[in-house]
Every structure is written in C-alpha cells, then in structure tokens.
C-alpha cells in the first residue's frame, strides 16, 4: 500500500450496503474509503473486493442518498486503523470511535490496524490466574480465568446485563493489586441497555477505568462489523503495551452476526446454515481469539461476550459456532428465571475449559475440583429424578432418590441463587457447597477423596484429624 489517496466519481452500482466503483486502479483489498455524498455529507467504507478496474465497497452507515452520479469515493490508501491511547479511559465513543461524550477526539499515541494480528501460539502464556467473580455458580463450578473468553449465552428478556455488570463490579484476582480496565463494546443494543451499563459504571466508579464503544440498535448495522474490532484493538494496546488486565464485554454478538449475514446476502455469496456466511466461524474466531496472555508481558485480555440465543436454541449457528471457539460458556435458563432465581445460570450446560488450571491448592482450594465434580453429578441426578417424579410420583422413589431431589431444590435456592450485590469468596462458595452436599448420604460422595471428606464435610468440621 504505497499510493496516497485517490478520488473517483465513478460509482456504478449501489445495492444494500454495497457500492461498486469502476475505472479505479491500484485499490487495495481492505482499504478504507471516504465517501462524499452529493449533499456534502461524508461516510466511510471499506474495500471488500478489488479488481483491476473495479472496487466493491462496503459502506458503513446506510447507502441512503448515495447516487451514481455525483457521489465521490476517495480511496485513502490505508486499511482500517484506530488511534489508541491511555487517554481513552473514561471516554465514551460511538460504534466507529467518534466521541459521544462531547469531548474532543483523544490524541492517539499509536495507530493500529483494527484487525490486529494473530498471537503466535508459541508466545501465548497459558492462562491460570483464577478470577473471583463472587458468584457461586461461576466461581464454584465454572471458574473464570484471566485471559479466557467465556461468553454468556442468554435469551431475550433474561438478566444477562445485570449479571455482566455484577461480574464487572466484583471480578478480582485475589491478593493482587494491579492495573485493570474495562472495554465495553455495544453492538445493536437499545439505549436503555446501554444507559444501564453506563450508569452502573458511573455509580461504581468503574467508568474512569473504562473505554466504551456504543453502536446502538438505531445505529447503522454495518458499523457493527468494526465496533468489536475497535474495542479489541484498544484492549490489546492497554493490555500488552500498558500492562493492564482488561476485561472486554461485547454485547450482543447475535446482532453482530446479523450484520455479517446482511453483508453476505448483499454480496450474493453462497449462504451456509440459516443464511449465515460460510466464513462466520473464521470471522468470529478473529474476534474471540484476541483474548489471552502473552509470555513476558504483564497485561491480559479476558472476554465476556454476551449473545442472545434466538428462541433459546443453543444449536442456533451463533451460539453453536461461538461455543466451538470460546473456552466454555455460561448458559442462562428461562426455567430458573421463572422460578425467581438470580442469577438464572443453569450449571449443567455451562463449562469453563480453563477451570482445571485455575483451581486447586494455592489457587483456590484443594477440594475445589472434586467438589465441583460432585456438585455436577448430584445436581444432574436430582434433575433426572425430578423428571421421573413427574411420571411416577415421589412414592415410587427410594429414600436416596428423594434426598437427591431435596438436594437439587436447595442447590438452586441456596447455591445458584444470590443477590445482585452479593459478593461471595471462593471459600464461602465451597463451604456452601459442602453444606448442601452433606444432605446426601456420605457414601454417595464418590467423586471426592475420603481425606477431603474428613477435612471439609460439615459432619467432621472442627474435629481433630
């Protein structure tokens, strides 16, 4: 990319978010285009396909009022960049990084390509510092680790925002006082939802340490394609240049994927499942894989993407492809929500793939892994038996079976359920788990070593060994 800017007035086709410019030369793939409308209004675009005489440009914003006569396209000779600086902390931007808070655009310390580069797997540090979110069902059963990408799979009307705000507020690595920052990227969420986050950040003082990018529901859908990339480029700068531990919240990925589908359809590409483009996996990976840690650098990027599953369907392409890339998932359940349980996290389909390395002696507690295992097995058994009760009634079950059902009920009310302001330590969570497990006959605790039972089981607590 060596040429400077060139300007053309030869727009020949406009179709959906796509504009075709003919008679061009030397246009690079991925180059940024400044479009000037007949009215003098300016918009941005990006080259999706470049041919000898023709450039196919994706227009950010809408293509309304563009024409094939007077509209000019100025090819800037640059790919999409963002000027990043520490000064961005505390600021609010729109989906393409223009200030929304009335302030002047910050003076960048560095210009960075928003697409970033893949971290060499060899340079990656394997994440192992567990984050205490203060939420039992996450900390106890799906521990989050610094450098992880752990999405929240939610549904319309479920309290994912409340949960994300609680995690942001309470998340800490214990025993460490370090620089942290929050990067928040909204894609197609409503004003109300965005206002909730901004006011929560303001109330708790997190705003000073946050960079906020807002592409709201009434903003152009196409801009959603770049919003998460701006956010992650900023996060990479803060994490790997400034040594901060950055928590990135991306919401709502489903809206992002809709935008991807819209562009793909406008380009008349061969559609994959449910009309989403075949490269959606690769595209999502280019977002999610920007989480992590790098050897020899202090900072980290932890991602909590939020996505709403259309019709609560976990096999829908958006949650499905995400689940294959992210390191686990936190799944919200409408059933638990209806029962009035907050956070309505159903632990059974949840998973944290990095949990094993983040828990255990010296990190959380020695019994953590086995207690977690036992909780899963016992709750799954309780749920299975509840299904049976619906058919045959309680009388048909053995005493042990009935204990499992009691366990499952109390587990939901006492372990999963907690207040939006309640912050439980790892120990409090594990002790609570032991209290519940002690409902079951000791012989049922087959997933826990006897030495741990003697040490932590309430029946033995306080006894000399």
């Amino acid at each position: 990319m060596h040429k400077g800017a060139r300007e053309y007035r030869s727009v020949t086709h406009i179709h959906g978010p796509i504009m075709v410019v003919d008679g061009v030369s030397g246009v690079a793939f991925g180059e940024v285009v400044e479009i000037t409308l007949p009215s003098g209004e300016k918009r941005l675009g990006q080259v999706l396909e470049s041919r000898t005489n023709r450039a196919i440009v994706q227009v950010f914003g809408t293509t309304r009022d563009l024409d094939t006569h007077a509209t000019t396209a100025r090819f800037t000779g640059k790919t999409m960049h963002i000027a990043v600086t520490e000064e961005m902390l505390g600021r609010i931007f729109d989906g393409i990084a223009r200030p929304l808070d009335g302030g002047a655009p910050p003076l960048g310390e560095e210009e960075r390509d928003i697409h970033g580069s893949a971290i060499n797997p060899y340079a990656r540090e394997h994440p192992r510092d567990s984050i205490q979110t203060g939420i039992s069902v996450i900390d106890g059963m799906n521990t989050l680790v610094r450098g992880q990408k752990l999405p929240i799979f939610s549904g319309a009307g479920l309290p994912h925002n409340l949960l994300a705000a609680q995690i942001t507020r309470q998340a800490k690595v214990r025993g460490q006082q370090e620089l942290f920052a929050v990067v928040f990227a909204a894609m197609g969420i409503t004003h109300e939802e965005a206002a909730f986050f901004v006011s929560d950040f303001t109330r708790t003082g997190a705003l000073e340490r946050a960079v906020i990018f807002l592409n709201l529901a009434d903003d152009p859908a196409i801009e959603r394609i770049i919003t998460p990339r701006l956010a992650l480029t900023t996060a990479e700068f803060l994490a790997f240049e400034k040594g901060m531990h950055v928590l990135v919240i991306l919401t709502d990925l489903t809206n992002y994927c809709e935008a991807l589908r819209e562009i793909s359809a406008a380009r008349e590409e061969v559609p994959g499942r449910r009309g989403y483009p075949g490269y959606m996996y690769t595209d999502l990976a280019s977002i999610f894989e920007r989480a992590g840690r790098i050897k020899g650098r202090t900072g980290s990027i932890t991602q909590i993407p939020i996505l709403t599953m259309p019709d609560d369907d976990i096999t829908h392409p958006v949650p499905d492809l995400s689940g294959y890339i992210t390191e686990g998932q936190i799944v919200l359940s409408r059933d638990l929500h209806r029962k009035g349980i907050y956070p309505p996290i159903n632990p059974l389909p949840c998973l944290s793939r990095l949990m094993q390395t983040g828990i255990g002696p010296g990190r959380t507690r020695e019994d953590h892994a086995q207690v977690n295992n036992q909780l899963y097995a016992a709750y799954a058994q309780g749920i299975k038996l509840k299904g049976l009760v619906a058919v045959v009634g309680e009388e048909g079950l053995s005493e042990t079976d009935r204990t499992y059902i009691r366990f499952a009920d109390r587990f939901e009310r006492e372990f999963i359920s907690q207040g939006p302001g309640e912050d439980r330590s790892f120990e409090a969570t594990l002790d609570r788990a032991w209290d519940l497990l002690s409902i079951l006959p000791e012989g049922e605790l087959r997933r826990i070593d006897e030495s741990f039972i003697r040490k932590y089981h309430p029946a033995y607590r306080g006894q000399k060994e």
């Binding site: 246009v27 970033g116 060499n120 797997p121 061969v270 894989e289 389909p349 012989g443």
Partner: protein, 591 residues
C-alpha cells in the same frame, strides 16, 4: 521438471484469501506462488488459460491489483529430515518458535523461516558404502534425532542407483550431501533433508491388515471400542463434550512411537496448554520427555484459513515419513470439521456450485483421500520394514447433530466411532463417549491380542458388559413409563450392575495422576473385580437380598475408585477390596 522461463503474472482481483492473477502462462495446478510485493505464500487452486486462482496462506489486506505474482515451480511441500520431532509448526510448516524470534509475539505476514534449522549439526552414521546399489526407501544412514527415536535417512522414493560417495561418520547440516548416487539421470547428491508434496501420499510397498490394538490407556476405548494400530477413528461431539481432552489423552498415552498432533482451527489457549504441558510430561515407556517423540502443528482459528486447509496434509506427510522408517505413528487431527469448513470457505470464494450445507461436492472424496493414507504397511526399500499410521480425527458437528455432512462423510470411511454425548458431559461423566451409539469394527481383530496378553475370558466379559449396558437402556425406558417400583429384583440388579460398570470402569478422570492412564493389566484386573462383585450380588439376590441393600454396601464406592489406585499397588490394594467385598456380602447373608 524445470520450466523454460520464469512464470510471472499480475494480480487482477483480490477477495479475502483468494487472489486471481493473469499472465501466468506455464503455471501448474497446486504450484506455490509468491503473491504481491510482500511475497506472501499462495497456492494455485484453479487455472483458466493464463488466469490462475490462488489461495493465499496469509492475510491479504493491502494487496492490490497490479502487484506481481511469481511461480516457484514446486507444489506445497514439506521438508523431511532430522529436527522435526519436538518442534511446533504452523499449517505450512513454519516453525513457530523461530517465527517468534523473527516477528515477535504476533504473527506478521510475509515472514519466511526455514522449516528445519539449516545450521544445526547432526551426527550422521552411514549405513552404505560406495559401490552399494540402493533404491527408494533404502537407509543411507542414521541420525540420533532424539534419544528414543533413531532417525533413518532414506533414499527419496523415486530414486535408485549406485552409491559413489558416502561421508564418514560425523556431524553435518541437513543440506550437506551425505551420499552421492549415480542414477539414470546422472549424479545426485543426497542431503539428509528431502522434500515431499503434502497433497500426495508417499509410496508404500504393500498395505497390511491391522492386527494389534493401539493401546490408549483409556478404559472405555481399550475395553469396548478399541482402535487397531494403523486404523482410523473419528470422535464427533458437540462443543463441551470433551473432544479435545480425549485427543490430548490419546496423544499422551497411546503406545505409538511418534505422535503428530494437528491443531486445526482450534483455540490458541488450548495450544498454549499443550505447549506448556507436553514438555513436562514423561513418556511412560522411556521416562524421557514426551515431546521428544511428537510434532505439533498449530493453526489456530484466527490464523489464515488456507493454511488451515493445508495443515492436515502437512501432518499426514510427516506421519508417512516416520512410517517409512518403520515406526508406529499416531496422527491426531483436532478438528477435521474446521478443515472441511476451510474447504467450504475457499470453495465459496471460488463461486463453485455448493453441495450439502454449502460444502463443496468433493468433500467426501477429500476426506476419503485423507483417511486412506492411514494404515499399517510394508514400506518401500530393501529389508522388510513395517510401519503404521493410525489416524484419530475429531469432528465438531454444528449443534451436535451427527447427520451433518462432515460427520456422515467421515463415518463412511473410518472404522471406529466414538460418539461424544452432551448429556453425559452435563453429568460430568467423562470421557463422555456414549456406549450405545459408538462402535468399533476392530473389536474382533484385537480380541486375540487381549486374550493372549491380558488374560483369558476377555471376549466373554466384554460382551457381557455390553449386554448389561444395553439392557440398562431398555429398562430405563421402561422406568420412565411405569416407575422403578414395578421392576423385578432381577432387573433392579441389572441396573445396579450397569451403574457399577459406568462408575468403576467407563468413567475416567483425565486430570487424576493415576486415573489418567490404565494399563491393560490393570484394566483386566478391574474388569475381573467388577465381575466378582456381580457374581456375589447375583448370589445374594437369588437368596433373597434386596438390590437396594447391595447398592449401599461401602465396597461399591471403593470399586468406583479403583481407577485412582496407583499401578504399582494394585496387587496389594485390589485383593483388599476383594476380601472386603466378600465380607460385606457374607454379613449380608447373616443379617
């Protein structure tokens, strides 16, 4: 082979990873080209007159029409020679550690690093003398690549002739000729390194039938759904069902001489885990670091899609090369679905007519070509060498739906199917291999080995276990309709037996130091223990004991923990459990 003039064209179109260049007269299909001013690596995937369609193995942003494209005259090849073991490569065999030195923490495009260190000296011991006549596959000499694996330097497959020079024992770089051959085409110097195009299978003398099991130390696999040495297996499962853990377990514990692990389009942090963990692992057989007999290929999901497509072929070619030396090689590909998706993505950019779910129509034949390169073989070259490549491919079906094209096309080829089940995973029953829908076509083949090496009655016990598990499924269906009350005591006992099988044998905790690997001897003893329990329980029930009482015997939870008993103490611990079992049943009779 050489072209008369250099093949040099100009880019006329760029769209994502696909570039079209004109003026490429003389270019060949699958030739490697250098694209643009930055000389990015690309491969020709279609030709139309002088127009070549190229898939580029690196990010193409910033590339524009008018930039040059230069042919290299060779197809995508890998370097084969000492130095492969213990190295981690990307999908087109660039060593990631060296890339890190050259381009830093992030992979910058256009970085070019030789696959094998050209300056490193290897101690070469010749095995031929001038005057010897040799042909493709014959051994020229030996290099001690890693303490456990002598690296045989072989005559490249297509060559034969008379040795005219051979160096003395000493240290040489991989590019110095160690022998000179007079062949039909004249004198050729043979260095330790040779090149092979990844998309072509290396020649073999003969394919042999599989006979022995590939021991994995994973109980449900070795016992119920074994894979044979030289066999093929697929592990499909929805996300979170433990595909990657199973693949890692097999890479760590399978009794192969060489393990090639291809991380194809998977997570960066997972590869970091492999990189952090595998060097610390000991080879259970030699006590040396496990990494000494492994090659890792990491093309994470955010690395260029075309290199992802190439990575499985790169892995397979390395596997075949070690098989040529007479080794047992295991190749793990995680995940073949990402490879298929890479094919779909490229196919879409080429605007090809799509087949099922947008996958190209040639998906099935590509998968078949790949898996067919596995097998136990007699290698080419003088002397009867026998080697094998066993392939284990993970499949990631969208939504866990096994009817999708990649799973179905894979099942048509592979002989072993380990179906992972999200319900089992939700219950934290790992490995979450569903015993009802999985199968192995090698069961009959490997029974002989087990009967001879583990102990008598293996086959009988195994089929009884399957019968009990089948029966459990039928009974559970019934319980769902009518409740457990109506079951006769005999059936309740079957349910208990199935529970013991699941808890004591099938469930295995990969992160427990002793449970993670079970030797054939221990597995046999565990199965025996479970059958002793069944015999006692059946006796007790027929003389009037209730299944519910047997279920609450303390020995049941000791059986469930058999897997965690260290290998070297089973001879003292297991008899202890057995006598406890007898006592508890005896007291049952008394009460």
């Amino acid at each position: 082979m050489e072209r008369e003039k250099e093949c040099r064209g100009t880019i006329i179109r760029v769209t994502g990873p696909v570039v079209v260049a004109d003026g490429m007269a003389g270019a060949r299909m699958f030739e490697i080209v250098r694209v643009g001013e930055e000389a990015l690596i690309g491969e020709i995937i279609a030709l139309e007159n002088e127009k070549a369609t190229i898939q580029v193995y690196e990010e193409t942003a910033g590339i524009m029409p008018g930039e040059p494209v230069t042919g290299t005259g060779r197809s995508l090849s890998v370097a084969l020679g000492p130095g492969l073991l213990g190295t981690i490569f990307d999908g087109i065999q660039r060593p990631l550690a060296e890339m890190h030195q050259v381009s830093g923490d992030f992979i910058r495009r256009g970085s070019s690093v030789p696959a094998l260190d050209p300056n490193k000296l290897w101690k070469f011991t010749p095995r031929v003398r001038p005057g010897d006549s040799v042909r493709g596959g014959d051994i020229l000499g030996v290099v001690s690549e890693s303490p456990s694996v002598p690296h045989l330097v072989m005559v490249p497959p297509a060559l034969s002739g008379t040795v005219t020079m051979c160096v003395d024992e000493g240290e040489y770089t991989i590019h110095e000729p160690v022998c000179t051959l007079r062949s039909a085409g004249g004198e050729v110097g043979l260095p330790m390194v040779q090149y092979w195009p990844v998309r072509a299978a290396r020649p073999i003398a003969q394919k042999l039938d599989p006979v022995d099991p590939l021991l994995t130390g994973q109980r449900i696999i070795d016992l119920l759904f074994p894979i044979a040495i030289g066999g093929t297996a697929a592990i499909p499962g929805p996300f979170g069902s433990g595909k990657t853990v199973v693949q890692h377990q097999l890479a760590k514990w399978a009794n192969a001489d060489i393990v090639i692990f291809v991380g194809c389009g998977e997570r960066g942090n997972e590869m970091a885990d492999v990189l952090a963990e595998f060097p610390r692992l000991e080879d259970p057989r030699t006590g040396l670091p496990l990494l000494n007999r492994m090659v890792l290929i990491a093309n994470t999901s955010n690395m260029p899609v075309a290199a992802r497509e190439a990575s499985v072929y790169t892995g397979m070619t390395l596997a075949e090369y070690y098989r040529d030396m007479g080794y047992k090689v295991a190749l793990m590909a995680d995940s073949t679905s990402r490879w298929a998706e890479a094919m779909r993505e490229i196919s879409g950019r080429l605007e090809e007519m799509p087949g099922e779910e947008g996958y190209p129509a040639y998906l099935g034949s590509r998968l078949a070509d790949f898996y067919e390169r596995a097998g136990r073989v007699r290698t080419i070259g003088t002397g009867e060498r026998e080697g094998s490549v066993s392939v284990i491919g993970a499949v990631s079906p969208p939504g866990g739906d096994f009817s999708e094209p990649v799973t179905q096309n894979t099942l048509r080829i592979v002989k072993v199917f380990w179906a992972l089940d999200s319900d089992l995973a939700y219950r934290r029953h790992f490995p979450a291999i569903n015993w009802l829908s999985s199968y192995s076509l090698y069961t009959g083949v490997v029974n002989r080995w087990w009967n001879e090496n583990a102990g008598p009655g293996w086959e009988g016990m195994k089929s009884e276990i399957m019968t009990i598990l089948q029966k459990e499924n039928e009974l559970e269906e019934m319980v769902k309709l009518v409740g457990p009350e109506v079951l006769p005591e005999r059936d309740r006992l079957t349910l208990l037996e199935a529970e013991v099988i699941r808890e004591s044998i099938l469930m295995q905790y990969a992160f427990h130091p002793d449970d993670t690997y079970t030797s054939p001897r221990k597995l046999y003893r565990m199965v025996e223990m479970v059958f002793s329990f069944f015999a006692l329980a059946r006796g007790a029930v027929s003389s009037g004991a209730l299944t519910e009482t047997i279920r609450s015997l303390p020995v049941k939870s000791r059986l469930a923990r058999m897997g965690t008993v260290p290998e070297n103490t089973i001879d003292t611990v297991f008899p202890g459990i057995e006598s406890q079992m007898r006592e508890e049943f005896a007291s049952l009779g008394r009460s």
